[in-house]
Amino acid sequence: MTTTAPAPPRETSLDWVKKNLFRNWWSGLISVILLPLSLYLAYRALRFLFVTGQWDAVRVNLTLFMQGTFSRDEQWRLISQIMIFALAFGIGLGTNSAASHDRAQDAGLDVERGTIAGTLARMWSLVAFIGLLLFFATTDDMGNLINPFLFVGGGLVMGAVGYQARRLPRRFRNVGWLLTMTFLVIGFQIVSGFDAGGWVPLGIIFGVSAYSIAPVDRFEASWLRGALRFAAALIVVLAIRAVYAAVDTPGIGWDDWSGLHLTLMVSAIAIVLAFPLGLLLALARRSTLPALRIMATAYIEVIRGVPLITLLFMGQFILGFVVPQDVTLSAITRAIAVMTFFSAAYIAEIVRGGLQALPKGQTEAGQALGLAPPPIMRRIVLPQALTAVIPAMVGQFISLFKDSSLLSIIAVLEFLGVRKIIHAQEAFRGVGIAETLVFVAIGYWAFAFAMSRESQRLERRLRVSR
């Protein structure tokens, strides 16, 4: 028999106001002063947004903000790229959510199930930003009106597909990841082109998949199974290579990216590259090999001691003289390289903090179990150390995302830099300066806030499943 505590009296909204706003005389005084003030500020902000603001500078140049000077004839490539990336993220998140839900259930934990409504609510800042874009989109660019819907819709559908992938037989469980990787590669290649030599990434992905899911279980001899697996992989890779050779269509590369598209892509690429590099640097700095340790320490301290803007300029001025004459690196490639190397040094220090915070007993326990150093690192130390530093790490990613606005100083036209060229246009010289600034600020905030929320969730979930 269980006894339940008597339910506490239901709190009315009046009680809430009393408890939180007028608990004593001075908190009441503060409330009386601050409430009207914040209401007034909110009123002024909304009035600026909907009534007094001269939003034409944003409205007319919406495409310029989104895609910059990217050739409008090739615009379909960017739109397809975003769409395909949306599909990739959708199915990646869906699969991941399904997998972690299954894992948690196996461990006997009760975790919330991922739902479409929950995902949208979590990403409300992005939804609001898309709403703002729709508010500004003029009816004559229907593409701009439809795209956000397709983007969100496609992502959600693929999320659902990925979530359902767990119903498949175990062998095909990884089909979600296969699709994610395929979409990511195709998303890049739709801009950079499907050249005959571009088969390698998809070749690797499908080769590995074919090798691991080849139906060879009914054969007894292990050498035969191995040979058959290898043959399956070879056939798949050759087929992909043949398809690429047949298509062989050049693209236009990423040198023309600009606007918000550039900001997002450069940040995403730099984050993805900087994380493993930072991890390796952190491990190298704690290595017992002096040469490795000294080199990693020197790298980290030099990079952290120099302002990013200096490094960006050095990337433009010095890289050109260091690389061979016939290798031309575009400004964007250099910028991505500099942002990656810069962030990696900070991430290394963050990871090192996490490693140091972990009690030595964890490693010793692993050793006592007879584990070799790599599994101890991979299965015991890193998962705990990385979980501990998620907030700091995401903070670094967010600051990398915002630092991409420095790229306009080296003449790479990113989201904020679009403002400058808009106000050189005859119609908007000195007109709508505050409005474009507010628009850009909202854009940056929407993405940074979504990243921050996602990190909080990740943190919670990793704590739960531990």
């Binding site: 000077t69 080769g207 290579r241 050109g320 400058k420 050189a424 246009q425 005859e426």
Partner: protein
């Protein structure tokens, strides 16, 4: 263990296949290079011109935020006075004004981009000075725009010369060559004045309109656009003095050491002025029926070839696709408030400085 084997096997497979592709590509590249060496030969001379022809595009460094000279429209296309001269170069060298790739550059990176070969030609309101010519590895070509520092006063003051501004307050941006020029010119003429220094034009303009200073000095192209803005928004009428107190010749710049390319760019650009002098514009150049031998040379109708490495009809391509100098000027510069008449940018026969060597 099994996984290690898998990766080893697949890596080996990848390497073999990649090597096959590389071998094919390498073979093709070698053949191409051999063919190029066979019929080209000019490539040995350093050849930006050949490289541009091979790439079939002129990479042009421009400004993307200077009204009248280089702006980007809502549809992402470049336009402006400097931009049109990029199109002139493409029309002259490649026969198609649209074969331009624009590279927006900041003032800091422009010469480095030129030296490292990121751009073929720099047309970004760059003043020709001895130091830049000598130290930046840059060759300055035909000046397409004579800008200069001017002085604006409220029309109500009635001032018309710099001497009228004795003991006046003069608004100027800090740390610019403008400030140095002001001090130098007023000092040399012995005119006493009080400089009122600002960090940027956004602070300077309201101060000037409130009457904190009697004069505002800056590049005349900038003053003209502020004059238009102030008067357009119902402010006091403004007057820009005819006197120019500094020389700011702006023109295309190429990298040092490639005279073939420099000539091709310079003569393409000068064709716009030559056409103007001949009275040819985009409307009538195709239908010229006179017998002036100089014009016939210029149009290449008698297959006249001065050996500049340009096709004989390059002038027709330049003028029909982009226009003569006056057409280019009228398209962009009056909109920011500057006129051709009485300025150094007029043709020499009308008292300006636009004078090109004879095409014969």
């Amino acid at each position: 263990m099994k996984r290690t084997k898998l990766f080893a096997a697949l890596t080996a497979l990848m390497l073999i296949l990649a090597a096959c592709t590389a071998a094919e590509d390498g073979g093709a590249a070698t053949t191409e290079a051999a063919a190029g060496g066979g019929d080209g030969g000019g490539a040995a001379a350093g050849g930006t011109l050949d490289a541009v022809r091979a790439a079939d595009v002129v990479v042009c460094g421009v400004n993307d935020g200077l009204p009248g000279f280089g702006v980007v429209g809502a549809d992402g296309t470049y336009s402006g006075f400097d931009v049109d001269f990029c199109r002139v170069v493409a029309a002259g060298v490649l026969g198609d004004a649209d074969k331009v790739e624009y590279k927006p550059l900041t003032a800091d990176v422009r010469f480095t981009s030129l030296q490292s070969g990121d751009i073929d030609v720099l047309i970004r309101n760059t003043t020709w000075t001895a130091t830049r010519d000598g130290q930046e590895g840059a060759s300055f070509l035909f000046t397409v725009f004579y800008d200069g520092q001017g002085m604006m006063v409220p029309a109500s003051t009635g001032f018309t010369t710099l001497e009228d501004l004795a003991d006046a307050n003069i608004c100027v941006l800090s740390g610019t060559t403008t400030e140095l020029n002001l001090t130098a010119v007023f000092g040399a003429r012995g005119i006493p004045f009080n400089p009122v220094v600002f960090e940027d034009n956004a602070q300077l303009r309201p101060a000037y309109e409130e009457g904190q200073c009697e004069g505002w000095t800056s590049d005349s192209s900038q003053l003209a656009s502020f004059k238009a803005a102030i008067e357009g928004e119902g402010g006091d009428e403004q007057f820009i003095m005819a006197e120019i107190i500094s020389k700011e010749p702006l023109g295309p710049v190429v990298s040092d050491g490639d005279t073939e390319w420099a000539q091709a760019v310079e003569w393409s650009v000068m064709a716009t002025v030559q056409a103007w002098e001949f009275g040819l514009d985009s409307g009538n150049i195709g239908s010229y029926s006179g017998d002036n031998p100089n014009i016939l040379n210029f149009l290449g109708t008698d297959n006249f070839d001065p050996g500049l490495g340009l096709s004989s009809d390059f002038a027709i391509q330049v003028v029909t696709q982009v226009g003569n100098y006056k057409e280019i000027f009228d398209r962009h510069i009056p909109a920011i408030g500057l006129s051709l008449e009485g300025s150094p940018n007029n043709i020499w026969t009308d008292g300006g400085l636009m004078y090109v060597p004879p095409y014969r």
